[in-house]
């Protein structure tokens, strides 16, 4: 079986490590980038089945990145994973497949990712 490919867009290294290793345990192939610009570059050059997107990042914030990613790949599933609940109200974030608030229980993220990918 071909492993599904996940891109993590997150500027904090420790968070990258945590999500990457946890998702790898679930049998995904995981790559990490630290900002929106790198994320767009990545999806242009690589195959990718799902993006996990932080909102507060330097250089290009998550919302702008979300828009640009979807312009490039209209059907790319995106999970917003952020500490900030207030952007849920912003319609630009509605284009994402899920909006999750960061939590010490990684299972919530894992389950959401599995759900989305199994539907596809």
């Amino acid at each position: 079986m071909i492993k599904k490919k996940i891109l993590i867009v997150e500027d904090v290294i420790n968070e990258q490590i945590l999500y990457k290793e946890e998702l790898e345990k679930e049998g995904f192939e995981v790559s990490c980038v630290s900002n929106g610009i790198e994320a767009i570059e990545f999806v242009e050059k690589n195959l990718c089945d799902l993006v996990i997107l932080d909102l507060h990042m330097p250089k290009m914030d998550g919302i702008e990145t979300l828009g640009k990613l979807l312009t490039k790949k209209r059907n790319l599933p995106i999970v917003i994973y952020t500490a900030y609940p207030q952007y849920r109200e912003q319609f630009l974030t509605w284009a994402a497949d899920a909006y999750l608030i960061k939590n010490s229980d990684i299972d919530l993220l894992k389950n959401k990712v599995k759900d989305i990918l199994s539907e596809k």
Binding site: V12, E15, L18, S104, D105, I106
Partner: protein, 461 residues
Amino acid sequence: MVKTIEEKCRLLNYQLYLLHTISKTIKETFNENRILNVILTGLTANGAIGLSRAAVFYYDRDKNIIYGRKGIGPFDNEEAYKIWSELSKKNISLEEYLSYNLEKELATQKFPQTIRKIVINLDELNEENYFKRVIKEKQIFHMYMDNKQASIYLPKEIETIFIPSEIVLLPLYSSKDIIGIIMADNAFHFHPIDESTLLLISLISIQTGIALENANNYNIVQKQLEELKELHSAMESMQEELVKKEKLSTIGKMASYFIHEIKNPLATAGGFVKRILESNDISSIHRDADIVLKEIKKLEQILNKFSNFTLLTPMKIEKISLLDIVKEILDTFELELSKKYIDVQIDIQQNISLKAEKVQLYEILFNLISNAIENMERGTIKISAEVENSLLKISVEDTGKGIPKENIPYVIEPFFSTKNEGLGLGLFIVSNLVESYGGKLEIESVEKKGTKVKIYFPIIN
């Protein structure tokens, strides 16, 4: 005959001295009450002009009335004898006499008290009445009057104080118009009022008018000054109010950032702890625990920063010397500066000060100086201040590694940091604080050359 001329000369000389002393005294004061005291005392002083009684009336043009303001002198023979015999015992000089505080005596004597109660309606007077004529013809009138004449030519309100004698009525002028009447008589002692005395009185009345006008102008200016002062303090408190409001909105903004930024390390630490609980591999447990520790340290840092962040403390704005606070901050970096061979140049004048909360100003300058030090190894930090377009410009310039061009727009964003340590909050806090004072922050930087951070404060006062 020779003796008479000599006496006349002496008298004239004395009168000149008198005029000089009185005008000098009233020019030195802007107090209306004091001016009137000097004039009336001068007119009635024994051995000066020697009139028996004198009073000042003011003219109210709008209401067309004349009202008594102040009078000096005895009411009847008995009081006259008492006052004059007491005065002759004292043997005081004219200057002393003029500076004598009369208020207590005036409050108990009948003549001054009666004068104060007099209100004359000019509309009710006939055309021959001297009070009306002084106002209308602006002339001096001098005449002897008995009771019968007084009943015709003087207002009835004067009757109670009238004693058959020589009476002088003079107009009191300001530069624009007539403002009142001086009335004097020679009751009780009946020393004749001669030509030279009349001339002297008229000169004094001119001086009085000018002095009263000056006093009035002075009072107006004083009042306007008071109003300006009130306006100024109202503006100051309004400005403080604005700063406070700005501060509250900054608190809201900052709190939101802080609260949610705590969530990040918290979630990460929690995630790793969960892994530790599930793992059997000692080396990965070790690594994960290390990450948890780092995240907890980050949490601590955020919380420390937040509780140190003085936006939450009560507002206490004070005048702070810029040079003093800069020196205070540099003292805390002394060791680091010498370790890194950094030279500090200060170009701030001692008299430059600004109104701010000290802890906040400290936070601002501390962040700028600490950034400069962190970004360099050997070199110079230049701290200067100058006034530019009514703004106080403070700049901190280093010769450090500078900021890459593409990063410059992001350096004031929260949690932007190129350092491994640190939260990336320094410049964010600085720019928010500076903005809360209505100021702004500018950054110029060239990679490998250095960075110059300029902050502008509006000058209060």
